[in-house]
Structure formats: C-alpha cells, structure tokens
C-alpha cells in the first residue's frame, strides 16, 4: 500500500436526526485519493444516511463536508455531482429503452444550433467507456446489455462528469461471480488513476478482495477505521454486530437439546440460482431452528423456498418423507407450514382490512370460500386470538394499518395460530418492534415449542437466536455453510462461522 496519499473527501462530525431517531451522531469519515474504502455496517447502522449526506440527498444537521480542502454544504444531488462526487446505486437506475450513449450523456448533451449534436454525444460515450476498457456499440439500447454491463455503463456515466469521488452503493448485489470480478478489475483501474472510491457491500469476501481501508458504523456511530490487511474477519464481524470477540465465553443459555423426534421436513442440498446454495436441514416436531448470517446471506431466500414462494432448482425437498417437486404457498399452508415474512408491510398485512379479517384470512382460505365463518364466530375467534397474543388495542374491527409494528406482528402471529401450523417460519419477527413485544413473541415461541410446534427463526440478533434455537444453520454469501446444534450454539461460534474464510 502506498503510504499516506492526500485526503480528498473529509467528513467531520456528521450528525443527522430524523423525527424520533438519531441516524448519525458525530461520524467522521475520510477518503484518500486512489483508495477503495469499504463502508460497512448492519442494517440501520447509518451507512445509507451517511452516503446520502455526502451525495447531497440529505443535508447534515451537524458537521462539515470537505472536498479537496473546500467546504461544501450540498442541498441537492446535482450540487454534489457538480462538485465531483458521483454515485452508482444498487439498482441500475438508467433508462433501458434509450441508447447507451444517451444514457451516459443524458442531461448534459452537447447542444448546437440544430439541437443535440449526436456525433459529439456518441464520441463522448465511447471515450467514457474506453476509460473502463469497454468497447460497446453506443447506439444500441441499454436493455440489450447484461445487468453487469449496465452497471458499467452507470459507472461510465458517473465518471463522465469530472468525478473525484465515486460512491458504489452495493453494486454487486445483482451480479454473478464472474461479473463481480469484472467490476473489481474496473475499480482497481480507477484506483490507479487516483480516484477515491467508497464501496458499500454486505459481502465480506468482496470487502477483502478490493478494499484498502474499512470504516465500520453501528447504530449511527463510527466504530472505527482499519486497514483492510490489519483487520481479521472475526474482528470485523464482531465489530459490526457489536460483540466483543475476545469474550469467548458461552452465556450458558437454555438450549435444551431435544434431539429426538423424526424430522418431517428435510432439505438435501437444496438451492436456487442466485439466491442460496447447498441447504441441508432437518426439522422435527418441537424444534426451533435458527438461520444466522449477515443481511443478504440467503436466510430469507431459504425461508421462501420452504414456504413455496420460490421454487428450488437443485437438491431434494422432502416433506413427511415424500419428495416435493412443485410447491407453492397454498400447498405449504395446507401441509401445515406458515410464514411471518420479513417485510410485514409488503408481504404480510392487508392494511385497510380490519384486525379481525387480517387474523382470520388464512383460516378462511383453508376452509374455502363457500364455508364462510359466521360473523359472531369470527368475532369470537379473532377476539380470543387477539387477546391471547396481547394485540393492542383490543378493538378488532379497526383497520390494522393503525396498529404499531409490534401489534401488527402479533396479529400476524395470531393469523397463524388460528390454523395451528406444524411449522411456522419467522423471518425477523422482532425487527422494528419494541422490547415488550419482542419478549412476548419470544416467550410465545418457547411455549408453542413445548406443545410440539416447530419454528424456523431468522434473526440478526444473535442473543435471540442463541436463546431460542436448538440448531442453527449459518449462511454466508448465499451459501449454507454450517449447522450448529445444542451446546455448540453460542454467539461466538456463530460469529466464527460467519467470519470463517470461504475456502
């Protein structure tokens, strides 16, 4: 590593508050010329807020932004672009039906007396692409390119203005291994040219593949900055999650191992391209299986496979000893599987419908449309379930959208309790809800487990996983890598498994 290169972007004491939340508190960040700087942190750590402050989407409440020694206070993204900070977002947000050249030069086309000078535009696009060692027919529509190449075009567009800083916000999430390599080669080339690159990703292998330095954020605060070569993986993961890796002591939690019952659900090397690979698991009655891993490691994708929301394309899926080929949500529900999805709002609740209807919808769907449950019975049943789970307020005729997140989650649990599933998949059931509701949900799980119900429990909070699960499947970078059972389950063993080198 070349010694101290000059700093090009310096953020000092950045603070940003939203109503009721402190998103960033006194965060410092510096980017040198000709370096790739990884910005890491779990969901909600403040990465995107910080990115948005430096790219002019948000204006910081406190702190200063200095670019090459000049202080800026960006009010719009355009101001940031003009100053030399360009961003490429996770989703390619270009216009697929326009040509490559138009996409690269959109909004800054050379104009002459007769409108846009197309020859200039094309020449400029060719030049911008050449900088990335790309030769493309710039007259072709963007949609004719692969996602990876579209990503490259987005970078070319970002560099077309005289960029000094390039921000790549999870650029690799929709790329395959080869395409990622291609992107990295480009990044290294740009680094040689002296560009400062900020790289946001969830994939740890990628962090070590290209980064020079790493900054970690947690809960809106800067945890530290390290040279990538001096920060071991284990240390990195524990810094991100906020557990001291040095404290290698099991917390002696109640993982009562009940390694008895025959499994009713078995996955043998199940995978789905681009989502998850090589999942081995057995779930028997009364078992709670945890899925652990960082965000984007394939936890939710596995849950979707079990629930039939996606179909596998490799491996064997056995239910009650029978091989399942075609599976969907309805079949899953009829065979006793339920799902509380990670994104409650998008995939779980019917916002305008009443709490009663939200609770009974699965029960009614299982009964069929002809055998409608009478209104008095509905009220009695939904009322009892809502009371059992402590849904507040108890007025079950209110639209569910007026409930808090925790109470919506309880209502969703009540929805499944109504049909008494054998296996309930809980994808981040405690995210975004208050401590009291968290506790109630956790105690519900352990109570139900004793009655023979099984759970799959996905959570980013390792304490919860350790406390509730009899076995834990650890995933990293869309691969299932390890299963921990019984006494092996400790926060440290999970962190170790996540951080292990992928060799």
């Amino acid at each position: 590593m070349a010694g101290e290169r000059p700093t090009c972007l310096q953020l000092t004491g950045i603070g940003k508050r939203f109503p009721g939340v402190v998103a960033l508190a006194g965060v410092d960040f510096d980017l040198r010329q000709g370096e790739i700087h990884a910005l890491l942190g779990e969901n909600g750590a403040g990465k995107s807020t910080l990115i948005k402050v430096m790219t002019g989407v948000y204006t910081a409440d406190d702190g200063t932004v200095d670019l090459n020694g000049k202080q800026y206070a960006f009010k719009t993204p355009q101001e940031a672009v003009n100053a030399g900070i360009s961003t490429v977002y996770q989703e390619v947000n270009l216009l697929p039906n326009l040509s490559i050249a138009e996409n690269i030069c959109l909004g800054r086309e050379a104009k002459g007396a007769f409108g846009i000078k197309w020859n200039d535009v094309r020449a400029r696009a060719v030049k911008a692409l050449a900088r990335l060692d790309l030769k493309l027919d710039v007259k072709a529509p963007l949609s004719s390119l692969s996602i990876a190449l579209q990503q490259m075009v987005a970078i070319a567009r970002a560099l077309d203005v005289s960029a000094k800083v390039l921000v790549l916000d999870e650029p690799t999430s929709s790329l395959d291994a080869h395409e990622v390599e291609q992107l990295f080669a480009t990044m290294r080339k740009l680094r040689e040219e002296g560009l400062g690159i900020i790289f946001v990703t969830h994939f740890l292998d990628q962090v070590y593949a290209v980064s020079d330095r790493i900054t970690i954020l947690r809960n809106g605060q800067k945890i530290g900055v390290w040279n990538a070569s001096e920060l071991p993986r284990l240390e990195l993961v524990s810094q991100m999650i906020g557990r001291d890796a040095a404290v290698l002591e099991s917390q002696g939690t109640a993982s009562l191992t009940t390694e008895t019952s025959t499994p009713f659900l078995t996955f043998e090397g199940v995978g789905r391209k681009g989502a998850i690979e090589g999942v081995q698991l057995n779930i028997g009655p009364g078992q709670v299986m945890g899925f652990a891993g960082l965000l984007g490691s394939g936890r939710s994708e596995t849950v979707r496979l079990i629930f039939g929301a996606d179909t596998k394309d490799s491996g064997n899926f056995l239910l009650d000893g029978r091989t399942i080929q075609r599976f969907n949500q309805r079949k899953a529900i009829l065979s006793g599987i339920g799902l509380c999805p990670e994104d409650r709002k998008k995939e779980g609740v019917f916002p305008e419908l009443s709490i009663r209807e939200n609770i009974l919808v699965v029960y009614q769907a299982k009964r069929g449309w002809l055998r409608k449950l009478s209104l008095p019975k509905q009220k009695q049943m939904a009322g009892a379930l809502a009371k059992d789970l402590g849904v507040h307020p108890p007025d079950i005729e209110r639209p569910i959208q007026f409930l808090s997140g925790g109470n919506q989650q309880k209502a969703l649990l009540a929805r499944w309790m109504a049909v008494e599933p054998r296996l309930l998949l809980l994808d981040e059931p405690t995210r975004g809800i208050d401590v009291g509701a968290k506790f109630e949900i956790m105690s519900l799980v352990s109570k139900q487990r004793e009655e023979g119900r099984s759970f799959v429990f996905v959570s980013s909070e390792l304490t919860e996983v350790v406390r509730t699960c009899q076995s834990v499947l650890v995933m990293r970078d869309r691969k299932a890598i390890k299963t921990l059972t019984g006494k092996e389950i400790t926060e440290d063993s999970i962190i170790h498994a996540i951080a292990e080198d992928s060799k």
Binding site: F307, A309, K346, E347, F350, P351, E352, A365, L373
Partner: protein
C-alpha cells in the same frame, strides 16, 4: 361527526338531487296506475338504471381486485345479438344452425353462455397471462362488437316474440320487469359477496396481492371469478336491452355503458386496490347516475348539457370522498368536517 361509510357521500348527493326535484320539479314524486302498472318518474328511474346497475355490480368486484373491465358494453351487444339470432333465425347467421324452438330458458342459457366465455377470456388474459386489465379488456371491447356483427351477419336483427319482449318491457306486480331483475341480481350479489368468503378474498387481493398469496389465496382465481361474474351481469343486461327494443343492434347496444358503470362504482365508494368495496354503494351510484339524467331531461335542459352536469356531480362526489380534499376545505374554515371518514 361519526365515520361515514364509503357509500355515504353518494347517498347524501342522491338525497340532495331528490330534494331538488321535490322543490323544483312538479310531479316528480307522483305515481299513476294504468293498466295494472304503476308509472312515475321514480319507477322510470329505477327501470332505466337497471343496465348500468347490473354492469356496476360485477364491475365493483373487478375494480376492487385492482382491475377494470372495459368490455361489458361489447358483451351486452354480443349476448343481445345471440338472443336475437336464436329467436329470429336470420339467414347467414352462424347461429341459424341452432334451433331452440323459441324456448326462452334455452335462449337465455345460450346467451349467457356467450357472456361466460367472454368473462373467462378476460379472466385468462388478466390472471394467467398477466396482461394489464385495461388492455386485456380493451381487446374484447373492440373485438366484441365485431363478433356481434358476425353473429348477426351485419344486420340489425328485429323480431316479434311477445313472451321474450316481456323481459324488457313487461311488468310484474305492477312494477317493470327489468327493475325486478336488477333487484334480484343485486340481492344475489350481496348474498354471494357477504354470505361467502368471496368478499374477504376480493378485499385481500385488492389490498395486498402478495400477502393474499402468502395467506393461501389464489389471486388469479379470485380475479377470474370477478371477470366471469361481470360478464354474466353484462349478459343479463344485454338480454334485457334486446328484449326491450325487440332488436339486436351490434354497433349501439350497450355503447359507452362501461364508462357509466365505472363511474357508478367510483361514486359508490369502491376504489381500486384499496381493499374496500361496496355493492350497495355501486347500486346507489347507478341510481344516482340515472336520477341525474332523468332530472336534467325533465328540467328541460338540452341533452347536450347532460353529460357535463353528470361529470360535475361525479367529480364532486369523488372529491368529497378524498380525505385530503376535505381537509383542504376545513383548513379554509369551511363547514366540511375535518375528521376523515369513509373507512368501512
């Protein structure tokens, strides 16, 4: 103020229009009995509202699932042409080979079968092929009239068949038959939607299709049912129309009625993808539309102005239904209550 049901504003506006007539239009609320039939403006309104009312029943479900059915007018034309051809047996019609010997049940069943096919076609395009509803049903809206032309061999088919005509212009217990049919079908619809779980499923699919799927509901099947029911309603309306004029006119039967039906549904408080819908609201909406038309005509306003006045009323009701609009007004210090209503 207590929460207003979604159809509340339609009822209020309907009452206002009736009140206007009570004051301004002499004889609006009078009834005469002639030849055992009751006559009067109100009866006339209900009678004439029937086609749009029937269309809006099915349209309510379609709109509630996030779709729209533009083909209902054309389906009316197709079923009407089918019925007329079965009766009149014109030469060169593809339907001439079917001889039902003037059996009314058979005529109705075959005509409604045509409607059923149309509904299935729409449903397939929307739920299996994933076409946008507006495009999918536009297909049959345009092609349907062509099919009706083919069925009737390009002519206006007229017939004399008093027993069949009675469906459109006869009466029972002193009231016109179409009105009875409208009342019966509306009641059946209410029963179907609230007596079974269909209503819940329609709401669920409209509110959040992904969550519906995750709850074991098949959104495609629910949409299919909605389109089929809509087409059947359109079929009934088509039969009534043909019986009324004793003729099938492929180009004009049910023309533009799909738009009236959509307006009636919106006025009645059913919104696309909101998870809430009201069959009763659509009935009120359909009656409101016809009341307006009749009012304008009896007031002697020129027919050209009818559409404009209708449009103004529809826009007003729709604006009143929007909480944002009402809040705007209450901010301006108006009497309109601030409390957002309309959530049933």
């Amino acid at each position: 103020m207590k929460k207003l049901p979604p159809w509340g504003w339609a009822v209020i506006v309907l009452l206002l229009v009736l009140l206007f007539n009570l004051v301004k239009t002499p004889g609006f609320f009078e009834f005469h009995v002639r030849d055992g039939r009751i006559y009067g403006s109100l009866i006339d309104i209900l009678n004439r509202a029937t086609p749009v009312l029937l269309l809006s029943l099915g349209m309510t479900l379609v709109i509630a699932t996030g779709g729209v059915d533009l083909s209902v007018g054309a389906v009316m034309a197709m079923t009407g042409a089918t019925a007329a051809c079965l009766i009149a047996q014109p030469t060169n019609s593809p339907l001439s080979s079917i001889n039902v010997h003037q059996s009314i049940p058979q005529i109705i069943v075959i005509s409604l079968f045509v409607a059923l096919l149309c509904g299935t076609f729409n449903g397939m395009l929307v739920s299996w092929l994933g076409l946008q509803p507006i495009v999918a049903t536009l297909l049959l809206m345009v092609a349907g009239r062509g099919i009706a032309q083919l069925l009737s061999n390009g002519q206006i088919i007229t017939f004399q068949f008093p027993a069949f005509q009675a469906i459109g212009n006869g009466g029972t217990l002193g009231l016109p038959n179409p009105m009875w049919i409208g009342v019966i079908v509306a009641c059946l619809f209410g029963l179907l939607v609230r007596g079974t779980a269909l209503g819940l499923f329609v709401s669920a699919v409209g509110s959040n299709p992904i969550a519906a799927k995750n709850s074991g509901i098949n959104p495609g099947r629910v949409k299919m049912v909605a389109y089929v029911l809509t087409a059947l309603c359109a079929g009934i309306a088509g039969i009534i129309g043909t019986a009324d004029i004793q003729a099938a006119d492929a180009t004009n039967a049910g023309l533009n009625l799909e738009l009236d039906a959509i307006l009636a549904v919106s006025v009645g408080g059913t919104f696309s993808n909101s998870g809430r819908f009201s069959i009763f609201g659509s009935v009120v909406g359909a009656i409101l539309m016809q009341t307006l038309t009749t009012t304008i005509l009896t007031r002697g306003v020129s027919a050209d102005a009818t559409l404009i006045i209708k449009a103004i009323v529809v826009v007003t009701v729709c604006l009143l239904q929007s909480p944002e609009f009402r809040n705007l007004f209450s901010k301006l210090g108006s009497f309109v209550p601030k409390k957002s209503g309309g959530v049933a």
